[in-house]
C-alpha cells in the first residue's frame, strides 16, 4: 500500500483525528497567535536593524528581511539574464550573421531579423568574409519572456544577456522594440575560430602553388 493511500484511508476512518481537543478549543491558539505577533513586534521595534543585503548574514535580533531596492541592491547571481545585447566585433559591427537561430528558438517569437549581404568589395575585412548580416534586428522586449534560449541558440556568440541590467521602464510601447543600434553594446568579443581571422575575403586565397599539397592540419 502506498503512502498516499494509507494517508487518505486513515482520514476516512477517523476524520477528527487531525485536530485534538486543545486545537479544537481555538482560544489558546488564538492567544498564542497574538503572542507570536507581539513577539515579532517587540523584537523588531526594540533591536537595531541590520541592513546587510545578504539577508541571511544579518547579525542583529531584528527579523526585518527588507532590502530597500534602489539604494540597496542584492548582487545578481552569475547566471542572471539581463537585457539583450548584440555583441560587437572588434570593428564595432555586430558579430551577428542573421542565421535566425535565435528567432527560431524564441518561444515567444519576439525576435525579428532581416538579412542583408555585405558587398564583396566591402572595405571591412570581417564583413567581406562573413557575407551576411542583419539589416534589421529587433527584439520586442515586452514579448520577451527572458528565457535565454536565444543566447543558447546563437552559434556565433553574437547575442548575450550578460548585462545584469533590467529592461528599463519606458513611456511608449514602441520604445520597447529594441532595434539593432540599441542592442549593439558592450565589450567587443573575438574568438580564435572567427573566420575573418583566417582569410581576407570570401575569395579564394592566393597560393603560390595551388596544387602543392597542403595537408589537412597544415596552414596553407
Amino acid at each position: 500500500m502506498s503512502h498516499s493511500e494509507s494517508h487518505s484511508e486513515s482520514h476516512s476512518e477517523n476524520p477528527k483525528s487531525a485536530y485534538d481537543f486543545w486545537e479544537r478549543l481555538y482560544v489558546p491558539a488564538l492567544i498564542k497567535g497574538m503572542a507570536i505577533t507581539t513577539r515579532h513586534f517587540l523584537r523588531n521595534l526594540w533591536s537595531e536593524r541590520d541592513d546587510n543585503t545578504e539577508v541571511l548574514e544579518r547579525k542583529t535580533q531584528s527579523l526585518m528581511a527588507t532590502v530597500e531596492y534602489p539604494e540597496q541592491r542584492v548582487p545578481y547571481p552569475t547566471g542572471y539574464r539581463g537585457k539583450h545585447r548584440l555583441v560587437p566585433r572588434e570593428d564595432g559591427k555586430p558579430r551577428c550573421v542573421a542565421c535566425y537561430m535565435c528567432a527560431t528558438a524564441c518561444p515567444s517569437q519576439c525576435i525579428y531579423i532581416e538579412a542583408g549581404e555585405y558587398a564583396p568589395s566591402d572595405t571591412n575585412t570581417a564583413s567581406r568574409v562573413i557575407e551576411k548580416y542583419p539589416t534589421v534586428f529587433m527584439v520586442d522586449v515586452l514579448r520577451c519572456i527572458v528565457c535565454g534560449l536565444c543566447v543558447e541558440a546563437c552559434p556565433k556568440d553574437a547575442l548575450r544577456m550578460d548585462t545584469s541590467v533590467h529592461t528599463s521602464p519606458e513611456l511608449e510601447r514602441k520604445a520597447f522594440l529594441y532595434a539593432k543600434e540599441r542592442l549593439l553594446a558592450g565589450e567587443p568579443t573575438q574568438h580564435p575560430n572567427d573566420p575573418w581571422r583566417h582569410r581576407k575575403s570570401s575569395d579564394e586565397p592566393l597560393h603560390a602553388h595551388k596544387e602543392a599539397h597542403t595537408r589537412i592540419g597544415e596552414d596553407p
Partner: protein, 568 residues
C-alpha cells in the same frame, strides 16, 4: 531534390506491380529477381539497383550523388550497403539486384562506413550553416545528425576556396561547401544538354566550376540549386531572403508558360519566396526553367489591391455598383476580353456570365504575347490556360476571336477579364480610352488603373483553382495564403456582378464553380477536382517541413514587431 519521392522509380526501369508470390526456388519469380533487404522480401525486375529495390520496401538508403533522373556516378560512397554476394560493401545506387541476395543496410559495418564518409565530407566543409541558405534542407546536416552525430576530430585550418563565385545570372557558388557529388555537372550534360560545368583540380583542391571564360547561363541552371544536396550552389534571387524552415509549401502550377510545370510555392505569411519544381513525370519530370522559377514574383509585384474607379479608391460595393450599371447600360453591345492566363474556374464563371447575363456570343482572347521557347520545357505560348479557354468556350457555344480583331469603338462598353494583354500598356491605354471599361486584373498596369472600374483579382497562389496545360492536362493549384487586400478571384467578382445585374449565381467556392459548369465540358467532365489536388501537407524533398510538427503551415508569425508609430 525529388530523389526521395516515393512515386519516382528510375525512368528506364519503371516498376511493375509485384508478381504474385510463388513457392520454391531457383528463380523464385520467373522473369523477376527476388532478394531480401533488411529481412524484407523484394521482387523487382532484373537490372534494378539496390537503392530502388530497398526503396520499394521502405528502406531508405542515404545518398548524395545518386539521382533517379541522372546517370550513375557512385562517387559519394554514402549508399554503401552489405550484400551477401560481395565480400566488401557495395554502393547501393550502382549495384544491381541478384537472385536470393541478402542486403543489410544497418549493420555495424555499414554504420561505420556512413560515419567515415560523413567525417570525410566534413573535413573541408566550412560548417558555416548560420550563413548558408541550404540550412534546414541540407542533406549534409540531416545525414550528419542521423548517421554520425560525433564532434569533429579535426583541428587546424581547412582548405580555403572561393565562397562567393558568381557562376551566372541565377546561380552563385560556394566552392568550400561542395562535396563533389557531380550532380550539377551531370545535370548540365545530360538534361540541360549544355555542358557548362566541370570538375577542376585534384585532391582537396578539387572544385566544381564553369569552364574558363564561360558563364552558367542556361535557362535550367536554377535546377542545380535544388539538385545540390548541400549549400554549394545557391539561387541568387532567394539568397538570404528567408530561412527554409520558416517557409511552408503549397503545391501549385507554374503559370509562366503553357507547359504547366508542377511547383511548390514556398511562402511565409502572405508572401511567396520561391518556386521549386514538383515531381510530375508527365509534365516536367523534376525540373523547371529559370523563367518560370522567377515567375513567383508576379504574384506579389505591382499588384492591384484596391477597387478603383478612374484611378481613385472606392469601396468594394461602390465599385461593383458602378460596374454593374455600366454593363447594364451597354447591354447588348459589350465587348468581352478574356485572358487565357486565368484559371478554369474563373473562365467558366466568366464565359457563363458573358453568355447568360451579358448576352454575348463571342469573346476576344487577350493574354500574354508569345515569347521564346526551348527544346526542354519552355513553351512559346506564355499563357497557362489557353487550352482551358478553348474547351470552355466550345462547350458553352461561345465563339473565340483573336485579339487583332478587337475594336473597342464597336462596343458601348468593354469588360476585361484578366489584365494580361498582347499589346503594351500605352497601346492598350489608347485603345480603351474611347470606351467605358470594367477591368478585373491582378496587376495595377497603367491602362487598368485609369479605366472606369478596376476590380483587383487574386493571384493563383491565393485561390484554389485549376489550369489546363497545352496538352489538355488538367492540373490543380492549391491555395497558399488568403488573397491580399480587396482582391478576390475572378469568379467571385463575376458572381457578385451577376447578382447585381439580376441573375442568380450562387457559388461558395471554386469547387462549386467547377462542379456546376464542368459537366457541360466533355474534357473536364471526369475530372475529380478534389481528389486530383495534391495534398497540401506533402512536402517531399524537404526533411523538415515547417508543418511537420503538427503546426498549421505558416503558423509562425515571423513578422516585424510593430507598435504605433514604429517601423524599422
Amino acid at each position: 531534390m525529388n530523389d526521395s519521392s516515393p512515386k519516382t522509380p528510375s525512368p528506364p526501369t519503371p516498376v511493375p506491380p509485384p508478381a504474385p508470390p510463388k513457392t520454391p526456388p531457383p528463380p523464385k519469380n520467373p522473369g523477376m529477381v527476388t532478394l531480401s533487404v533488411d529481412d524484407k522480401e523484394v521482387v523487382v525486375k532484373p537490372g534494378t539497383s539496390l537503392i530502388v529495390a530497398a526503396h520499394q520496401v521502405g528502406v531508405k538508403i542515404p545518398h548524395y550523388c545518386y539521382h533517379p533522373r541522372l546517370s550513375l556516378s557512385a562517387n559519394c560512397r554514402m549508399c554503401m550497403v552489405e550484400a551477401s554476394n560481395a565480400p566488401k560493401l557495395v554502393p547501393a545506387c550502382q549495384a544491381t539486384v541478384a537472385e536470393g541476395q541478402v542486403v543489410k543496410t544497418d549493420t555495424p559495418k555499414v554504420k561505420a562506413q556512413q560515419r567515415a564518409v560523413l567525417e570525410f565530407l566534413l573535413l573541408n566543409h566550412p560548417v558555416d550553416c548560420p550563413i548558408c541558405d541550404q540550412a534546414g534542407e541540407c542533406k549534409l546536416q540531416d545525414y550528419y545528425v542521423r548517421y554520425d552525430f560525433k564532434p569533429s576530430r579535426l583541428w587546424g585550418p581547412k582548405v580555403q576556396k572561393n565562397k562567393r563565385k558568381v557562376l551566372g545570372p541565377t546561380v552563385l557558388m560556394d566552392q568550400e561547401r561542395c562535396i563533389l557529388c557531380t550532380r550539377c555537372v551531370r545535370f548540365m550534360k545530360e538534361v540541360a544538354k549544355e555542358p557548362q560545368l566541370g570538375i577542376f583540380g585534384r585532391g582537396s583542391h578539387e572544385r566544381v566550376d564553369v569552364f574558363p571564360g564561360a558563364k552558367l547561363d542556361s535557362n535550367y541552371s536554377g535546377n542545380l540549386v535544388e539538385l545540390c544536396p548541400v549549400g554549394a550552389l545557391l539561387n541568387r534571387d532567394f539568397r538570404f531572403k528567408a530561412r527554409a524552415w520558416f517557409l511552408s509549401a503549397a503545391p501549385s502550377v507554374c503559370t509562366a508558360c503553357s507547359r504547366g510545370c508542377n511547383v511548390f510555392a514556398d511562402y511565409m505569411n502572405q508572401d511567396c519566396f520561391r518556386f521549386r519544381p514538383r515531381e510530375n513525370a508527365a509534365v516536367n519530370q523534376s525540373w523547371m526553367c529559370d523563367v518560370g522559377r522567377k515567375s513567383y514574383r508576379w504574384a506579389g509585384e505591382n499588384r492591384a489591391l484596391h477597387t478603383l474607379s478612374h484611378g481613385k479608391p472606392v469601396s468594394v460595393d461602390e465599385a461593383l455598383n458602378r460596374a454593374a450599371s455600366l454593363l447594364q447600360k451597354a447591354q447588348g453591345s459589350i465587348g468581352v476580353l478574356a485572358s487565357p492566363a486565368a484559371s478554369n474556374e474563373d473562365l467558366m464563371a466568366a464565359l457563363a456570365f458573358a453568355r447568360d447575363v451579358l448576352k454575348v456570343n463571342m469573346v476576344f482572347v487577350s493574354g500574354r504575347p508569345d515569347g521564346a521557347a526551348d527544346k526542354l520545357l519552355m513553351m512559346a505560348d506564355k499563357n497557362p490556360n489557353r487550352k482551358g479557354l478553348e474547351y470552355i468556350a466550345l462547350a458553352l457555344g461561345i465563339e473565340l476571336k483573336p485579339f487583332e480583331t478587337f475594336t473597342p469603338s464597336a462596343f458601348q462598353a468593354v469588360w476585361v477579364l484578366g489584365g494580361e494583354m498582347p499589346e503594351s500598356d500605352i497601346v492598350m491605354a489608347a485603345r480603351l480610352k474611347t470606351v467605358p471599361t470594367v477591368v478585373q486584373a491582378q496587376h495595377a498596369s497603367e491602362w487598368a488603373h485609369e479605366c472606369q472600374v478596376l476590380l483587383p483579382v487574386a493571384s493563383h497562389l491565393e485561390t484554389e483553382c485549376s489550369m489546363t496545360q497545352h496538352e489538355g492536362l488538367l492540373q490543380r493549384c492549391r491555395q497558399a495564403f488568403p488573397p491580399k487586400g480587396d482582391s478576390a478571384p475572378h469568379w467571385q467578382w463575376v458572381m457578385r456582378l451577376a447578382n447585381l445585374l439580376g441573375a442568380r449565381m450562387d457559388w461558395s467556392s471554386a469547387k462549386d464553380v467547377f462542379s456546376t459548369i464542368a459537366p457541360r465540358i466533355p474534357e473536364f467532365a471526369n475530372f475529380d477536382w478534389e481528389g486530383q489536388a495534391p495534398s497540401k501537407q506533402s512536402r517531399p524533398g524537404l526533411p523538415l517541413p515547417a508543418a511537420s510538427d503538427g503546426r498549421p503551415p505558416a503558423y509562425r508569425q515571423f513578422a516585424c514587431p510593430s507598435a504605433k508609430g514604429c517601423s524599422p
